[in-house]
């Protein structure tokens, strides 16, 4: 029995890992697309684009990975969730298409540049918003039998709010990434926007948590009953702590600029890791509430799991290639380390 649960559980965790990686990595580069309209000059836009043009493709691959793990390990869940969220998925894909091609075409355009700026900003925002929408739908729960009906169950005030919240969260990640990758005015702006966004993100996390606890008794019982609720309580506490540190660091980046002092590299990169840990904690809280469901109260990971023959076939692939992928992805980031200005346009 334990073995039977073991493999599906592994893939449930792997799916979680893939989603988390996607949210963190594509989060900061979608975030830069969301922030894009708040930067004005061509030079600033160049800078923003160049800070991620070498990584966006790899970051987006995590989305495909999440999709195929869901497909291969939990076919039932993939089939229901994908057709249930038909419209948000389609709109997200359209958004990703426009912002993806903008990378290639913007640098090669003259007269049409403004359109690629728009495609990048709107596409990134749309994709992020749709992802937030889907998050909202999964959190509030939805009826899997409603695929055929033309009702728009996924469109509720709550899911609209989570859409905006995820946009803000991604923008925050983008700000902290920019703080790490730039100097001067851009860094300043990023740190300033980052502080404001952080306040909104914390507020949103609080509201979403309260709403979920209020609406879903099972989750309430899980959080406020039994000994493990003490461990769970650590999550919001650590989140508040991380937010506090992040706010301070972003403020320090601004003050040190005003004093025209050199900021140590460590302080410039720490906001990114703090923002990432904020996402990690929020994600852990989410999983703690949803476990063991892929679609709340309807499809759990063990009912949706593919047969053992499929799960064990993928296992060596995951165990061998995932560490390799992480290694060369890290290496790629290492090659392009430092500030954007320091690497010349390549090709």
């Amino acid at each position: 029995m334990e073995l039977q649960i073991g493999l599906p559980l592994f893939y449930f965790l792997l799916l979680g890992f893939a989603i988390l990686m996607y949210v963190l990595l594509d989060g900061f580069d979608l975030g830069i697309g969301i922030l894009y309209p708040w930067f004005n000059t061509d030079a600033e836009h160049d800078h923003l684009m160049r800070s991620i043009s070498h990584v966006w493709d790899g970051n987006e691959t995590w989305l495909v990975f999440g999709g195929v793990i869901l497909f291969g390990a939990f076919p039932l869940a993939y089939a229901s969730i994908a057709s249930l969220l038909y419209l948000p998925i389609m709109l997200m894909l359209i958004g990703l298409i426009f912002r993806g091609v903008a990378f290639e075409y913007r640098f090669k355009s003259h007269t049409s540049k403004i359109w690629w700026n728009r495609a990048f900003a709107i596409g990134s925002s749309l994709a992020a918003f749709c992802q937030g929408l889907m998050l909202g739908v999964l959190v509030q729960g939805v009826d899997a039998d409603s695929i055929a009906s033309s009702s728009l169950q996924w469109l509720t005030p709550f899911s609209l709010f989570t859409g905006l919240a995820v946009m803000a969260g991604y923008a925050l990640l983008g700000c902290t990434y920019l703080t790490m990758k730039s100097r001067g005015d851009i860094q300043q702006k990023a740190a300033r926007y980052g502080q404001r966004l952080l306040l909104f993100v914390m507020l949103a996390m609080l509201l979403v948590s309260l709403f979920t606890l209020y609406r879903q008794p099972e989750i309430r019982d899980r959080w406020f009953g039994g000994a493990h609720s003490l461990i769970l309580m650590l999550l919001p506490l650590m989140a508040v702590l991380a937010a506090r540190l992040l706010f301070r660091d972003l403020g320090r980046v601004q003050r040190q600029f005003a004093a025209e002092a050199d900021i140590s590299i460590r302080h410039e990169s720490r906001p990114f890791w703090l923002a990432a840990s904020l996402f990690l904690l929020a994600f852990a809280g989410l999983v703690a509430g949803l476990f063991p469901y892929l679609l709340p109260h309807q499809i759990s990971f063990y009912t949706a799991a593919a047969p053992d023959s499929s799960l064990s076939f993928m296992l060596p692939g995951v165990l061998i290639f995932l560490p390799l992928i992480l290694a060369y992805t890290l290496w790629g980031y290492h090659i392009f380390r430092g500030k954007v200005e320091d690497y010349e346009e390549g090709y």
Binding site: T61, Y78, A79, G100, F321
Partner: protein, 468 residues
Amino acid sequence: MELDAALLSRLQFAFTVSFHIIFPSITIGLATLIAIWEGLWLKTGNPLYLQLAKFWIKPFAITFGMGVVSGIVLSYEFGTNFSEFSRITGAVLGPLMAYEVLTAFFLEAGFLGIMLFGWQRVGPKLHFMATVVVAVGTWISAFWIIAANSWMHTPAGHIIVDGVFQVDSWWQVIFNPSMPYRFTHMLLAAFITGTFVVLATSAWQLRHSEHKNMARKGLSMTLWLALILTPLQAYVGDLHGLNVKEHQPVKLAAMEGIWAEREAGAPLLLFAIPDRVAEKNHFEIGIPKLASLILTHDPDGELMGLKAVPADERPNVAVVFFSFRVMVGIGVLMILTAFTGAFLRWRGTLYQSRWFLTACSYLAPSGIIAVLAGWYVVEVGRQPWLVHGLIRTIDVVSPLPAERVLFSLTLFVLTYSLLFGVYLYFMRKLIRKGPPPMEKLSQQLIGVKASGYAVALAKHIKPEQEQH
């Protein structure tokens, strides 16, 4: 008219997958060519190779980008539009795609950044390695997705439990009966597509641009490649056809336009208009007995016809029949081009032959058209089955409201039409702009502005200087 969600879903998938395949077909060949040029540059030091690599890396980049964004769509469309299909075949197809992502997509994406933007950040050998990795990644990707696709044509190695597919032997699933043929055929097709894009562009450059030396090198290389690859493709295609005859005789009957239940000494039809209702062809023009000769190696050999199965198990014959002729026609044209080129080269007039160069420059999209036509033969020819003999397409479409699918289909048609125009515009722009000037490249050769070292060195020195 009542909207049919199933039909719309199928149209949408056909449209999005057709759009997508254009780009990988080019990038698989182009990545391989760029890797070869970079390797040759490292080996010989001839800057013309570097110029070719640097020139083609830009068209490669935009093509690759188009392939990535249109590919993500597909990985979700199985679930959104064919949910029942995903549910019952997910345990077979999902893991194959998981391996595609693990062994190919991440690899390509991870090293693409270095290939495109890393010239100044890594040494030339490491950069070459990144390019090779990207090229190999495209092949691996083709391997897995062709394995998945082939399984839907010639399913093997599975068992069905409660209506859901499970795998009994992964080896048989991956190396299913049609997979080796389809994989070889498609990989060659992609190499040829890339080759003809470069061949056509080089021919155009020889006539219209000042970069004649690079254009000669490009034309010469791709003509040699075409001379080897196109006849080889004809041979592999023939083997693939025999494989279809064995496993999907109905598809073959549609390709050849054979109606009678069994036909001995079937002619090779050059033209005909198949009529599904009357169950016969109009205006047939054919070479007697040739189809039988090719497919059974006997002029009087028997072939199975469409009437051997009920009408509801036949594909749309006209689409399959004409697509097949388009593909073969272009193939013949390519072989003729390759041999004419070789003949002119032997005569020593290749680079001066204006008519030949002009003709070649029109062949830029030939590979893409042939690939699309070939896929229509394969995919339309399999209908009404989605998994041959086991799952009918119509039974596994998501029960979505038709308006919703119509909405997304409209969005895709608008988006892709726009982007295709944009893609052609930028391809044209990049080709007209030409390669980076030779002087800049020879500097790289000597090492003044060479990749990596100078910049890296400067950066390591800087902080120390500032301290003093």
